[in-house]
Amino acid sequence: MYEGVVQDLIDELGRLPGVGPKSAQRIAFHLLAADPADVRRLVHALVEVKDKVRFCATCGNVAESEQCRICLDPRRDVAVICVVEESKDVVAIEKTREFRGRYHVLGGAISPIEGVGPDDLRIRELMTRLADGVVTELILATDPNLEGEATATYLARLCKPMGLRVTRLASGLPVGGDLEYADEVTLGRAFEGRRLLDV
């Protein structure tokens, strides 16, 4: 144990995701040794992010104003909505540059064990967005684990009567990988979802 404020800093850092006690200690001592200007810049960034960033009123993505950049962008296709669990999933999909529609961030997945039901996710907001009939396709891009699948099934059932095209991202083998290194579950899924080669 270190004295007073140093230990406080280590404890605070240790609460961050992915930071264990050893890493927390390393970061704390790095900050102690760092240039005061650097540390102020970090403090400033932390305060700014809490003060300025809010969540998009439309899609729930992180935004710096009432709406996020994607929802404000007139070039994005308003007929397609891609549903994801977290804002970081939006970033991941944006990197592909494949998707030109808009997003809807749920804020998690249905999981009774963690006490998360449909009412705790931004599902009502999604239904409101779908009500005007502009949207024709809903892409369900929740995580490919049990909770993500369950959330996708739930949404698909909910949206079916609306006459939408509801699609689910494919799961299978990573591109550029070796078949032999794929785990059995992934490889099994890939077999299930195999497709006809059009030649």
Partner: protein
């Protein structure tokens, strides 16, 4: 396949032990409590990532040590050898290495070494709860088809989520009203339960059908009548025999879930599905549990393992057969018959308290095990 070398560090009673092994029969002989079973248990652990004796890892580590190491060099069918290593860290994640390079997950070890292990604890297969028999089936399933481990884990996870949901809903109802939306996702969990449950049930039925004649044959050889053996899969979904196709099972499970909903909401748990099924072991017209004598139960349990062994052999990739302390319970005739059945296995490891218990047909390499030392006995 066979194990060419076993090395243990801080495992159970052993601070360190090196045991070179050969194909064919090897007997570990020594008085009780000297560490014979620990050797074969370690081999079983490497193959299944679990001990046949304890559920937690803590007892596997020598008193005073922090972690245990199990290392085996395995010679596979194609003549290539692999070095499998496992670091057992009780309370933490175990770590595996294959051919000296770290594996992503210990699970990657599965399939590298295949074993069928019979031990006195297996009497619980016959006399114990349905859970013992479900575990027996599921372990054999994943040994044959590793993909089904994923299906089983999915099923367990759906079950946990669904039970939590039902429990929350039951509590809310008792508290009077509560959130009406609590059960709005139940349909979704039903669907996932039915999908994973049907797949698991289908695989189990398929396995039981393949296993039945082999177990019957083994029992017939081990005992003097009382048969035939019938493995009767009893499903919680229906009194009638289940359909033999996946889609049919899926339909039965789906309607059973729908029919049982009121009771499930009332009790706050999932009442139908493969987690409530049983494999009724019949001996002639009667269930073995409650009717079979001690000797018959013993032979039955042994026949289940020998049947599994034959099944895995038939699939290709001959497993290592481990018979822990089996001979003391059998009379001379049955010992001889058992010996005849297994003598041609690629590798058979047996343990016995006294050398005389090991039938002459299984005369192979012999090790004396005493006070944590394993010493090879040269034939005179």
């Amino acid at each position: 396949m066979h194990v060419a070398h076993l090395s243990l560090v801080d495992y159970r009673s052993y601070a360190r032990v090196e045991v070179p092994l050969e194909p064919g029969v090897t007997a570990f002989v020594g008085p009780n409590g000297q560490g014979k079973t620990n050797l074969v248990e370690a081999i079983g652990y490497l193959a299944t990532l679990g001990s046949h004796r304890v559920a937690s890892d803590a007892p596997l580590v020598r008193l005073g040590a922090e972690r245990a190491y199990v290392r085996a060099s395995i010679v596979r069918e194609d003549g290539r050898s692999a070095l499998a290593e496992l670091e057992i860290n009780p309370g933490k994640a175990n770590r595996a290495r294959i051919n000296r390079s770290p594996a992503t997950r210990p699970r990657d070890l599965l399939g590298l070494l295949r074993t069928v292990l019979f031990a006195p604890e297996d009497l619980a297969l016959v006399k114990g709860d349905p859970g013992e028999r479900r575990r027996f089936l599921d372990e054999l399933l994943t040994a044959r088809t590793p993909r089904l481990l994923g299906v089983r884990q999915d099923y367990d996870r759906v079950l946990k989520q669904r039970n939590t949901l039902l429990r929350t809903a039951a509590l809310a109802r008792r508290a009077g009203g509560g959130r009406s939306g609590a059960l709005s996702t139940l349909d979704v969990w039903d669907e996932h339960l039915a999908a994973a449950g049907a797949e698991l049930t289908y695989a189990r039925l398929d396995l039981v059908a393949a296993l039945q004649p082999l177990v019957d044959k083994a029992y017939d050889a081990l005992s003097t009548g009382g048969g035939p053996i019938v493995l009767d899969y009893r499903s919680s979904m229906s009194e009638d025999p289940l359909p033999t196709d996946r889609a049919g099972i899926h339909a039965v499970l789906t309607s059973a879930i729908a029919a049982g909903r009121a009771a499930e909401v009332e009790r706050g748990q999932t009442l139908v599905g493969p987690h409530r099924d049983d494999l009724v072991l019949r001996l002639g017209p009667l269930p073995a549990k409650g009717y079979a004598s001690h000797g018959e139960s013993w032979s039955y349990a042994l026949a289940l393992r020998l049947g599994s062994y034959e099944l895995l052999r038939a699939d290709g990739g001959e497993p290592v057969l481990v018979l822990d302390d089996v001979f003391a319970e059998l009379d001379v005739t049955r010992r001889a018959r058992l010996a005849e059945m297994v003598a041609h296995g690629e590798q058979v490891l047996v343990t016995a308290a006294v050398a005389e218990d090991v039938p002459p047909a299984l005369a192979g390499a012999r090790y004396d095990v005493a006070a944590g030392e394993v010493r090879r006995v040269e034939h005179e």
